[in-house]
Every structure is written in structure tokens, then in C-alpha cells.
Symmetry: C2
Subunit: 213 residues, 2 copies
């Protein structure tokens, strides 16, 4: 069956975004530091339609994370930020041509019609839970894997439910001190992980985990 794969940048103190995330600063204060390792890479630039860039030990890791993905699931905050939707649904953080180029399923409590964007990205809003979103994404992925896009909240729901097959944490040696934590809502849930690979690269350590079922 199609695997659910999750890769995310996290600070050494466990944050995946800084404090005070908003429409103008979706990564929160200091959060941009979590992604500095990726931005110079040719792989990242190409995936965002840009030329040039570097190749280093992170390149292969980033390439892998993009390979064989047929659909994405994400939480509402990842689509468009908490509290940002009024009566007039807005279009999310991602602009006219989001970088997904595939069907994206957004887990939310607020029903709304699907949105098709330029470049092949569609946003479908799923109100009946994380399992349903994953099921729809698997169907849309047509044999490829499904990526879990984040954020912290929905990721923890998937992790707790034992639905993530493969998790890569891009561990960034900064301390944010506050913000959105990746593991703060799991209580003492019995989540068992095994590190299957550790790769050092400039400004980041890539840690790949198998979720033991």
C-alpha cells in the first residue's frame, strides 16, 4: 500500500515554526532559520521553478523526499493559518502556483469547495477526519506514496494514530525557545521509532525514522 511519508525541519529544541505565525510571517519569528539549509540547493530551486543552486549532502535527502509522491495531506494551519479564514475563504499561503503540483487534501473542520490552482495543485478540504483524508490521498496518488505536509498539529494526530510509515527530521542546530512544537501533544502515547539513517550536511542533520508498528 502507498506509504505515508513525513519530512520536516525541526530546531534542536523541538520547534517546527517560531512564535507569532501570521499571514506575513507563516514560519513565525526565527522560523526561517529552519529552512536555510534547503534554500541554496539546486534541488529546492528546481522544485520551485528556479535555476542554479548548490549540490551538497542534503541534495539527495531532499530529492528522495520529493520522489514518488502522488498526493499530499496537510492540516488547516499548513494550508492557510489559524484564524485566517473569515466568511470569505482565502486562498492560503501558497499563492497562484503552489509548489505541490499534485492533489492536496486539507484536514479541516470547515467545509468548502475544492480549489484548483495553476501548475496542477488542487486543494480538497476534508472534514471527516485524518483517516478519510489519507484514504482520499492514497486514491488520488494512484500507486505512489502520500506526503504529510504538516503542520505540527495534524502531524501529531497521524503519528498518534500510527499512520505515518516513514519520518525524516531535518534537525537544525538552532534554539527557537517558543513556537509550534512537533511533539507536544502526544502525552505518553506509545509511539516507537527507530532511526535508520543519520546524515550530516551543512547546517542540518537528516534523521530518518521508521515508525515501529
Amino acid at each position: 500500500m502507498a506509504r505515508l511519508r513525513f519530512h520536516i525541519s525541526m530546531s534542536l529544541d523541538g520547534f517546527i515554526a517560531g512564535p507569532n505565525q501570521n499571514e506575513e510571517n507563516p514560519l513565525g519569528e526565527g522560523g526561517e532559520q529552519l529552512h536555510e539549509w534547503a534554500l541554496p540547493l539546486a534541488t529546492w530551486r528546481a522544485s520551485h521553478g528556479r535555476e542554479g543552486g548548490e549540490v551538497n549532502a542534503s541534495s539527495r535527502v531532499l530529492e528522495e523526499s520529493l520522489e514518488n509522491i502522488g498526493a499530499t495531506v496537510m492540516g488547516r494551519n499548513m494550508f492557510g493559518g489559524s484564524g485566517a479564514w473569515g466568511d470569505e475563504p482565502w486562498e492560503g499561503w501558497w499563492g497562484e502556483e503552489p509548489p505541490f503540483h499534485m492533489p492536496v487534501f486539507v484536514v479541516t473542520h470547515h467545509p468548502r469547495a475544492a480549489v484548483a490552482k495553476q501548475g496542477g495543485t488542487t486543494f480538497t478540504f476534508v472534514t471527516d477526519g485524518i483517516e478519510s483524508a489519507l484514504e482520499q490521498a492514497r486514491e488520488a496518488a494512484a500507486g505512489k506514496d502520500v506526503a504529510l505536509g504538516g503542520g505540527a498539529n495534524v502531524a501529531q494526530h497521524y503519528l498518534k494514530a500510527g499512520l505515518i510509515d516513514d519520518m525524516t527530521i531535518h534537525l537544525v542546530p538552532v534554539l527557537l525557545g517558543d513556537g509550534a512544537q512537533l511533539f507536544d501533544k502526544l502525552g505518553n502515547a506509545d509511539v516507537r521509532l527507530e532511526c535508520t539513517r543519520a546524515i550530516e550536511a551543512p547546517g542540518v542533520t537528516h534523521l530518518r525514522y521508521r515508525v515501529v508498528k
Copy 2:
């Protein structure tokens, strides 16, 4: 000058001990999982006067952490637990023959006389701050390095003050959910780290950081 070196086991969600630490369970609930990688090693057993044991990718890391150390600094909780000292000073967690075999300087607000234990461990109680404890430890180390023994509290004071030269985090893929966090009191202190080595081993990933001054 003698370097201050810190190595510590941490859960993936940032805890170095579980909740409800007490005299009978100094590691807190679930905290023993953080040290399971070390216990079977021949190196660990030898350092605690025992024979036998395994050799794996962790062995060299543990050996390094024990090499060329001439003195240790630690916090009061690491010596003997918070609230455990009454009018009658108790002897700490470490028993009659502590595994340090060197001078140990305990940072505390409570003055008391030094204690000499079997096997060469002495505990000296320092009431005038972390810099003073480090200075005394450096002198006692006589040219060797100083180990920071923990716990979380005093480690963060040393980190914030820029006094740690070298930090190794033994990252254990468990989620404790609660307990003593390694990085919860730093706020937005400007602590800059660089990962200089990542080693995968059974049940643990060893991440070595240089503290950028």
C-alpha cells in the same frame, strides 16, 4: 585552556529525564529508556567496575566522553535531587563508591562541607555560581578537560553563558511527553551550534555539536 564538555541522552521530544523524579527513581518515569543504549556496552560496564558487555558503534562515542576528563561540575539536582536535603545533609544518589573517580563540583545555594567517597570521588559544594564551579574544576582537572554532568537546569545556565565548548547529544527515538527538558529555559538566547558529527548506533544517534562563540 581545559575544555568544558557536555554529553547527555535526550529523547526526540527534548527530555533528559521523565516526570516525577525522586530518590527511588532518579531518572523519572520512562527515563531509563534514555540510557538503554549505553547499559549493554563493555565500555559502560567497565566504567562501573563490571566485566563483559557489547561493542558497537556507540562504544567509541562513550569512550571519548570518558577520556581526558579531570573533574566534573554538576547541579544540585544531579547530585541529590531537589528537595531531598533536610537539616541532615544526605549523601546524594551516588552511593558509597560513585562512578566519577575524580573531583566533582556541585553548584548549589546551600553551603556544606566537602565529602570524600570511596574510589577517588570528592564532592565539593560551590555556592558562588557556575563560573566559580568551573574555575575550581579546571584547577582540579590539572590540564585535563572538565565534564558537565548535568542536569538540565545547570546545563542551560552554562550553555547560556557560552561556557560549554563541546556538546554531544545522544538522541534516543522515544517520546517521553513530560519531564525535565534540556532546552526549556533559554528563551531566545543567542546560542549558536554547529553539528560536527552524527553517528547512528543501536537505539541512539550521537550528535556532536560545537558551540560557536
